[in-house]
């Protein structure tokens, strides 16, 4: 018995089962219905773009880490999530090479240059998307009708001529993953149930948009269901790395996203502000964390 040395380690001696890998895979699982819906509506394009994005994201992460002679941590699943989210945020008719470029930029410029997982100030998938929009504006704003390859002029957000039911089920033109509110909500509920999703950000985000739409006399349900708002609020604003860690901070983050989105949607020259609203609030995250420190137990309590 004396031979085998005992293990000396600091408490606590037990750990929760959840790991970063599991969290990432949960997000992937939650995205499956969304991807399935996208494939149902847009067919091969959905498979093509999302698969390419995933492969390039994971590949460029591995490549970058290999060049840096760091352990290849692609199995943590974060690049997988980034690639999947980027792929799902692309318009169905986008040329493959643009998806490759966007995915590469998302991982390299959006994440790895800052030191990899956990260190990036901005949401990598959105960085990739924003760069694509700024570079290939017309391709990134060319939509096709579901079930066909027919190019249509505008998304419902711009044209404003579809029913709630169509918006809810997703039989409208738009980015691959954004059209079906049903699939997104399904994924969101699953994430929430698994404890991966903090309710404050999506609630703050969607709530703000709803209230402001109402105040400015817009069709509230329409504003919520159209465009990529729902997709972003559920899957992208909630990216833990780039959102605040304090409870109050997460409310502020969500509300801030909503404000910026409304500002851009109603007064900006872009039809859609999701990408920018989240990226902008990402920039505010360190400041929010700093200025919303929770009150420590017993702080400010006077002796009775």
């Amino acid at each position: 018995m004396e031979d085998s040395r005992l293990v000396l380690s600091p408490s606590p001696h037990i750990r929760d089962e959840d790991t970063t890998e599991k969290i990432m895979l949960t997000v992937v699982a939650a995205l499956v219905p969304v991807w399935a819906a996208a494939t149902y509506f847009f067919g091969f394009n959905s498979v093509r773009l999302v698969l390419v994005s995933i492969l390039v994201a994971v590949g460029s992460e591995a490549l970058f880490l290999a060049i840096r002679r760091k352990p290849i941590t692609i199995w943590d699943g974060s690049a997988l999530v980034t690639g999947m989210l980027l792929g799902l945020s692309l318009p169905p008719s986008l040329p493959t090479w643009m998806a490759i470029l966007g995915s590469f930029i998302a991982i390299v410029i959006g994440k790895q240059v800052f030191g990899g997982l956990g260190a990036n100030p901005f949401n990598p998938a959105l960085v990739g998307r924003a760069v694509l929009v700024a570079s290939f504006t017309s391709q990134m704003t060319t939509w096709t009708m579901p079930f066909t390859d027919a190019v249509t002029s505008a998304t419902p957000l711009v044209s404003g001529q579809v029913s709630y039911a169509e918006l809810f089920f997703g039989t409208v033109p738009g980015s691959l993953g954004e059209t079906s509110a049903l699939a997104i909500l399904l994924g969101g509920v699953f994430l929430f149930y698994r404890g991966v999703l903090d309710y404050r950000i999506p609630v703050g985000f969607l709530g703000t948009v709803a209230v402001l739409s109402f105040v400015f006399g817009q069709d509230v349900a329409y504003q919520l269901l159209s465009g990529s708002l729902l997709f972003g609020a559920v899957f992208m604003a909630t990216d833990m790395v780039t959102s605040p860690i304090t409870p109050v901070g997460r409310w502020i983050f969500g509300i801030g996203c909503g404000l910026v989105l409304v500002l851009i949607r109603f007064w900006g020259s872009l039809p859609e502000g999701l990408t920018y609203s989240i990226l902008l609030m990402n920039a505010f995250t360190p400041l929010i964390n700093r200025w919303t420190r929770p009150r420590i137990y017993g702080q400010g309590v006077k002796q009775a």
């Binding site: 504006t137 017309s138 391709q139 990134m140 704003t141 060319t142 020259s269």
Partner: protein
Amino acid sequence: MNESAKMIVVLTIIAMISGLLLAQVYHLTYDRIQLGKAQALRGSILAALPGAVDFRVIEAHPVGGLEDDRSTLRSKPGSDSDPLLLFQGLDENGDPVGFAYVCEGVGYGGIIKIMVGVNHTSELISGVAILEHVETPNIGSLIENESFRNQFVGKGTADPIALGQDIDRITGATVSSRAVTEAVNRDLSNALQAYKEAITNE
């Protein structure tokens, strides 16, 4: 000489020399700069008015002034009293070909200044030239392309020019396209009226 006095004297002298020098530079380059500006203006006027070889300036006083422009973020000072400059294009014989005026629209990056030429007789647009813009290169800047600008030729006051119907958008640059279309639309009838008044008064 004490230090303070020296400081004052030296600085003053340097300032004076500099002032003098700059005055010389200014005068030396003045003519050329004006000439360059005039040529640029002339170029765009002639581009907007095919057939014209020369132009003259007409001061017009449009009724009620031109519409306010939200782009400039300020009301134009006394738009009633300020004259509107119209450029009358003349052919080889000195006969009027038409007139051109400048209008502004708010694009994606900022203000777009447009020269619009109108045919003397048909009172239809004879050409459009972009004077200034700050649109995104390769996106909004495509409004400079002839294919876009030429779409306006032949349009008139009769019915408003509509983006998407009369004018094809530039893909991905709806904002810029709309800015140009709306600007041309907005001032066209006013300018035409002012032009007519101006030449009848002459």
